[in-house]
């Protein structure tokens, strides 16, 4: 398999993982919104309420930075990263 094909396979794997996490916190948990809201979440807010106003939003921010770092590592591994700027 060529270097490029391997690089793309890893990139696709990372995409799938990123989308899976995204799916859980943007769609998955809200299937059980009513049940989860009975539980007390962080800082004492009802759990579903907390996810809608802070939790999911914050997780998305972290997820994007995590994704960006992982993708950079993949690009470096196969020598496809850009040179000369940041």
């Amino acid at each position: 398999m060529s270097k490029q094909a391997q690089h793309w396979e890893k990139t696709r794997g990372l995409l799938m993982m990123t989308l899976a996490i995204w799916f859980v916190f943007s769609i998955g948990i809200f299937l059980f919104g009513a049940e989860m809201n009975e539980v007390t979440g962080p800082f004492g807010y009802p759990l579903t309420y907390w996810f809608t106003c802070q939790g999911s939003l914050g997780i998305f921010v972290i997820l994007i930075f995590w994704f960006a770092n992982r993708q950079e590592k993949i690009d470096e591994e196969f020598g496809f990263s850009e040179r000369g700027d940041d």
């Binding site: 490029q4 690089h7 793309w8 990139t11 990372l14 995409l15 990123t18 989308l19 995204w22 916190f25 943007s26 769609i27 809200f30 299937l31 059980f32 919104g33 009513a34 809201n37 800082f43 004492g44 807010y45 009802p46 579903t48 309420y49 996810f51 809608t52 106003c53 802070q54 999911s56 939003l57 914050g58 998305f60 921010v61 997820l63 994007i64 930075f65 994704f67 960006a68 993708q71 950079e72 690009d75 020598g79 496809f80 990263s81 850009e82 040179r83 700027d85 940041d86």
Partner: protein, 603 residues
């Protein structure tokens, strides 16, 4: 004080700017103490900030295509993040979002999840690849990847339909704020707003818009966070509201139990001024079906990843790597405001409905409430209303009505903050609406000038001529938007949500599959864009005219239907027609790796 390259000095430049703005707020506060009228303060805030944006717009003037279309591709990640956040957060986010949460609770908060979760799709599916492509506009990508003038033209059509729907709402919002702050009729205020918007973008194009958007972000985030923290501290709710309002949320639940949600008679509701609503839904309980919540969130997420004015911000970063990081920073800066909106809604609601607080009006006598200064002000502005439906002489929960905008605009005054904060909030709302309008008008004008005029009509046009065309289009589109805004056809929020649905119907799959599916070809993309947009539009018209809809897809989520049609038709048509030629397939391979030259050569 400032030497060398502008880009290297950005932190210093915006540091001084932020300091200057804070000093201006303090001067206004002192002015208020010394007897400046509230009207003067409002005018000063709006005039001063708009003047600053205009100066930045003038200093960013340019005659180069690269600077005009993509800000020279040298905007650092963090600053591009701020600019994107301002580009993204519209008048609706700033003025209407907390109000929506206040009235509708959980069902509305799907928008919060949708408008942030979409950035994960932007970062992972699209932004870095489109940056590698090196295009000036989103239709530029479609036209080059799939080939042919028809695909390029259809992308311009989808972009224009979505962005134009969006921009009228923003010009409407600038007009509303300008008419309140400057005390002029709305019909004229709309054009004052438009001229302010054009001052930022006319001369410098994307470069001017980038640096004004950063400035606008700083104003709008200060204007949003300062009152939230101040009110929370003043009420004794906690010095860091985001982590400390659990008791207040629980207290609202208790009060809701105690008062109950009494349903008003239709005849009584007729006496309530148009546009005002009462509290009819629980604050923190789950009040929507899972599909109701998820479908709205999903539509907003896919719409986010298809809206060209957001995507084109990532064309301005220096590299592919920077584009990815920049999406993260964008969402971080958006998060600062979005996570504060529910807190503002909580504080606002509690201060109004809790009888044990001095500001609470529920349980007070009607005459007493009608004598309060702020009630009179906002009643006059048609944003607040009480009426004694049951004739018992006191205000009940179901007898108090408010406009959605009032949550952001009136809460500082209700909580007893000085007027200078209200002036600041007006400047923040103006900044939010202006920055989004600028991004949208520029997206439309650039697509028409670059993709229709330069690429299709006159490929030999010189740079100077292209930029004249771009600027003329900017003005024409702006005036068209303002004219429609002046007619006040629909509310701010409704048209914003439609824009997302239009964008996802026509563009989501053609963009995503262009990178992720090599087999996607021109015929497929044309079918995907045309059928997606038409079926989405058809569904909207059907539901608006009394159609029942299906699968719980409403007029706010019609993009789910449109994009499904788009996906199916694109895949089917691609598979029954010839696969893309070798050159196109090689192009897709190159897009997938960050290193190497961009596809559309520099210069």
């Amino acid at each position: 004080m400032i030497k060398g390259n502008f880009i290297d000095n950005l932190p210093k430049v915006y540091g001084i700017y932020t300091g200057g703005f804070l000093a201006f707020i303090i001067i206004m506060a002192i002015g208020e103490q010394m007897g400046m009228t509230s009207k003067t303060i409002g005018i000063c805030f709006v005039a001063f900030t708009v003047a600053i944006y205009a100066i930045i717009g003038y200093l960013s003037r340019t005659a180069q295509a690269d600077a005009y279309y993509v800000a020279g591709r040298q905007v650092p990640t963090v600053f591009n993040g701020m600019a994107t956040a301002a580009d993204w957060m519209s008048g609706a986010s700033f003025v209407a979002m907390a109000g929506g949460i206040y009235f509708k609770g959980y069902g509305y908060m799907a928008l919060l999840v949708g408008w942030t979760g979409g950035y994960v799709l932007v970062a992972s599916l699209l932004a870095p690849y489109l940056r590698k492509f090196g295009c000036y506009t989103v239709p530029d990508f479609i036209g080059t990847r799939y080939g042919g003038n028809l695909s390029r033209f259809l992308a311009v059509v989808v972009l224009t339909v979505a962005s134009f729907t969006y921009v009228t709402a923003q010009i409407n919002a600038t007009g509303t704020i300008a008419s309140v702050a400057l005390d002029i009729p709305f019909q004229y205020a709309v054009y004052v707003g438009l001229i302010s918007i054009l001052l930022c973008s006319m001369l410098g194009g994307m470069r001017g818009v980038t640096w004004t958007q950063v400035a606008q972000y700083i104003v709008l985030i200060i204007a949003y966070l300062l009152p939230v923290f101040w009110i929370s501290n003043k009420m004794g709710a906690g010095f860091f509201p985001h982590f400390m309002l659990a008791d207040e949320v629980a207290r609202i639940g208790e009060l809701e139990q105690q008062f109950g949600f009494v349903k008003n008679a239709a005849a009584d509701l007729k006496t309530v001024p148009k546009g005002l609503a009462g509290i009819t839904k629980a604050h923190s309980a789950v009040n929507a079906t899972p599909w109701g919540f998820i479908s709205l969130a999903l539509a907003m997420m896919m719409g986010t990843a298809s809206l060209p004015h957001v995507m084109m911000r990532y064309f301005t970063t220096p590299s592919v790597k920077a584009a990815r990081k920049s999406v993260g920073w964008s969402l971080f800066f958006i998060f600062l405001l979005y996570s504060s909106a529910p807190m503002l809604a909580t504080l606002s609601k509690l201060s109004l409905i809790d009888p044990s607080l001095p500001t609470g009006i529920i349980g007070k006598s009607i005459a007493e409430v009608q004598a309060i200064d702020w009630y009179q002000n906002w009643n006059q502005a048609n944003l607040m209303f009480v009426s004694d439906f049951n004739g018992n002489g006191t205000v009940e929960l179901n007898e108090f009505f408010m406009g959605g905008k009032a949550v952001v605009l009136a809460t500082p005054e209700i909580a007893g903050l000085p007027y200078v904060i209200s002036g600041l909030v007006a400047a923040g709302g103006m900044a939010a609406a202006m920055s989004t309008a600028d991004g949208l008008i520029l997206a439309i004008a650039n697509a028409i000038s670059h993709d229709v005029y330069y690429k299709i009509i006159d490929p030999k046009a010189e740079t100077a001529k292209r930029l004249v065309v771009a600027r003329v289009l900017l003005v024409v589109i702006g005036f068209a938007g303002a004219t429609i805004a002046a007619m006040e056809i629909q509310g701010i929020l409704g048209s914003v949500i439609w824009a997302f649905d239009f964008a996802m119907s026509g563009l989501f799959f053609p963009l995503v599959l262009g990178v992720w599916w090599k087999r996607a070809n021109k015929e497929g993309a044309i079918a995907g864009m045309a059928l997606g947009l038409l079926s989405g539009l058809g569904y909207l018209i059907w539901v608006r005219n009394g159609g029942s809809g299906f699968l719980g897809i409403t007029q706010l989520t019609f993009g789910i239907f449109g994009s499904a049609v788009s996906l199916v038709s694109m895949v089917v048509v691609s598979l029954i027609t010839a696969e893309p030629n070798a050159a196109t397939q090689r192009m897709v391979d190159e897009v997938r790796v960050p290193s190497g030259r961009s596809i559309i050569g520099k210069q």
